[in-house]
């Protein structure tokens, strides 16, 4: 029965091939690897992992070697006869009960220690970030700074960040493989997770994922994390805290667009003022930037120096972090007249946006009509690098397709199909009344991209 088996030889060859491939695989880069101690949290996990891997490999080798050796050595020989009938051996059996138990103690102790270390209370001065999961995008709030944003997180290096994890609907799980383990978002509960990006980490971009099955677009519920220097974070945070001010056609209005804004927690009343201004702008459809936001009420502290808006530079992403650029192709069958994109006009776009169904779901702080809270905040959408829960890059083209038929672009999305003549993939209804032409979509795209 033994002989030379062709199937067996085949396996040997194949295993060698696989090994070669495996070695080849080592040359690649793994941007979402879980092994990098970029935070103290991940360092703790990694140390534990190293031990598990070492002991696991040792057990594996011992068992497999013993097994292979045994079957080789005791394969039947022609003169074999009947082997000695051994029923057991108490000493041996005690030994191989005890040895694994001892090995496990070496796993158990650091495990328990790490559990208590990583699940202790976060440092009191930690940066607080509220994470709210939605099917299928992420809402991030920085209560200390009055910021609400979506799908892109900025974290200062060297400062502990404490996430409060909640969900708006079903369960999700918050995971940034390079920065630490995951934690679920559970309805009617709040979970916590904290870590500190290493102080000496260069500003970097990471991928984040939803790791709990949450429906059709679970695969498309991703997010980006930028760990930046405290300075960069500060700039970003100041900019984000302000209402969206989009620059209208004239270049000098750009200057006023980045006009001073209040800092810190006391921003709420100012937001209202700014909103009122945008409202005027909206109703008159004239460049409202004539009255720049310098008209801050006395209650707020005017900032003397104009903060420079910070977003993680796209050039660096393209150069150093290409893996955070979404690569999902636009689904086949969707059409958009891309020639209308260059003609998109942000002012027209704002008007169309403000009278279309968009405003029912989205907020653009500064645009009084746009107060919806079902979809992500679009306040600074122009300053983000991705849209649709990290599924597509944030550029005019993807945005246009997205507006035209979001549920087609992202299965199950509750963002309605807006493009004229488009079919809603769920209801199979063809959109006509109140639907948007490609030209109108291009205008809205221009408006949104201008919301830096």
């Amino acid at each position: 029965m033994v002989g030379t088996f062709r199937p067996r030889r085949l396996v040997a060859v194949a295993l060698l091939g696989a090994l070669a491939l495996g070695l080849a695989a080592c040359g690649e880069t793994y941007p979402n690897s879980t092994f990098n101690p970029n935070t103290e949290y991940n360092a703790a996990i990694d140390a534990l992992w190293d031990r598990l891997l070492f002991l696991g490999t040792a057990v594996f080798v011992v068992v497999e070697v013993a097994l292979v050796y045994t079957i080789f050595r005791y394969r039947r020989r022609p003169d074999g006869g009947i082997p000695k009938q051994v029923h057991g051996n108490t000493a041996l059996e005690i030994a191989w009960t005890a040895i694994p138990a001892v090995i496990l103690i070496f796993v158990a102790i650091p495990t328990v220690r790490t559990i208590f270390k990583t699940q202790a209370k976060a440092a009191p001065d930690a940066l607080q970030v509220e994470v709210i999961g939605h099917q299928w995008w992420w809402e991030f709030k920085y209560p200390q700074y009055g910021i609400t944003t979506a799908n892109e997180l900025y974290l200062p290096n060297g400062r502990t960040v404490n996430f409060q994890l909640k969900t708006f609907d079903v369960l999700h799980s918050f995971w940034i493989p390079q920065l630490g383990g995951k934690r679920d978002l559970i309805s009617n509960r709040t979970n916590f997770l904290w870590f500190t990006p290493n102080k000496d980490l260069p500003s970097s971009a990471w991928n984040g994922f939803c790791a709990e099955f949450c429906g059709p677009s679970h695969a498309n519920m991703k997010f980006r994390v930028y760990t930046v220097s405290p300075d960069e974070f500060d700039q970003w945070q100041k900019h984000q805290a302000r209402p969206a001010v989009f620059p209208l056609a004239s270049p000098d209005s750009t200057a006023s667009a980045v006009a001073p804004a209040p800092t810190g927690a006391g921003s709420a009343p100012v937001l209202q003022v700014a909103a009122a201004q945008r409202d005027t702008a909206l109703l008159t459809a004239t460049p409202a930037t004539a009255t720049p936001a310098t008209a801050t009420p006395a209650s707020a502290t005017p900032v003397s120096a104009t903060p420079v808006a910070y977003t993680f530079p796209m050039e660096r992403i393209e150069r150093e972090f290409p893996h955070v650029i979404p690569k999902t192709p636009i689904p086949v069958g969707l059409k958009f007249d891309e020639s209308t994109l260059p003609n998109g006009d942000p002012t027209r776009g704002m008007q169309i946006y403000s009278r279309s169904s968009c405003i029912g779901c989205h907020v653009v702080s500064g645009n009084r009509m746009s107060m919806g809270n079902i979809g992500p905040s679009l306040t600074h959408i122009g300053a983000r690098h991705t849209i649709a829960g990290g599924l597509y890059p944030n550029d005019a083209k993807h945005l246009a397709y997205w507006l035209k038929n979001a549920p087609h672009m992202k299965p199950g999305s509750i963002m309605p199909t807006l493009g004229k003549g488009e079919t809603d993939p769920k209801t199979k209804m063809v959109m006509n009344v109140g639907a948007l032409t490609d030209a109108e979509i291009s205008d809205i795209v221009a408006y949104l991209l201008a919301l830096k």
Partner: protein, 113 residues
């Protein structure tokens, strides 16, 4: 009814306590239930810390008495005892475990250390 009618003759070999025992047990159960219910209406008892444990103990006793006498487990083959108590223990431990996991205690204890 019967898949197998075998061994039915052996059933009466099992010892079953007689009706005097049954009546006594019924009386006992009634009395304990009465105590339980009145405890519910005695504010001094009902509000004291002893209330919950005492109720658990009393219903536990009733439980055991019914199982031992009416279900004649006391007189049965030890196998039946194992078939019942084994699962009962797993069920109780699971119940207690679940109650602990859902209590705030589980989280609080962890954060203390």
């Amino acid at each position: 009814m019967a898949e197998n009618v075998q061994a039915s003759g052996q059933a009466h070999d099992d010892y079953h306590p007689g009706w005097p025992t049954y009546w006594k047990v019924a009386l006992f159960l009634t009395v304990v239930t009465a105590i339980e219910v009145s405890a519910y209406y005695i504010p001094a008892w009902e509000t004291s810390w002893i209330y919950v444990p005492s109720m658990l103990i009393m219903s536990g006793i009733k439980f055991v008495v019914v199982v031992a006498f009416y279900m004649h487990l006391k007189y049965e083959h030890k196998l039946f005892r194992a078939l019942f108590t084994g699962p009962l223990i797993i069920a109780s431990v699971t119940l207690i475990g679940l109650l602990f996991l859902f209590s705030k205690l589980a989280i609080k204890l962890g954060l203390l250390s």
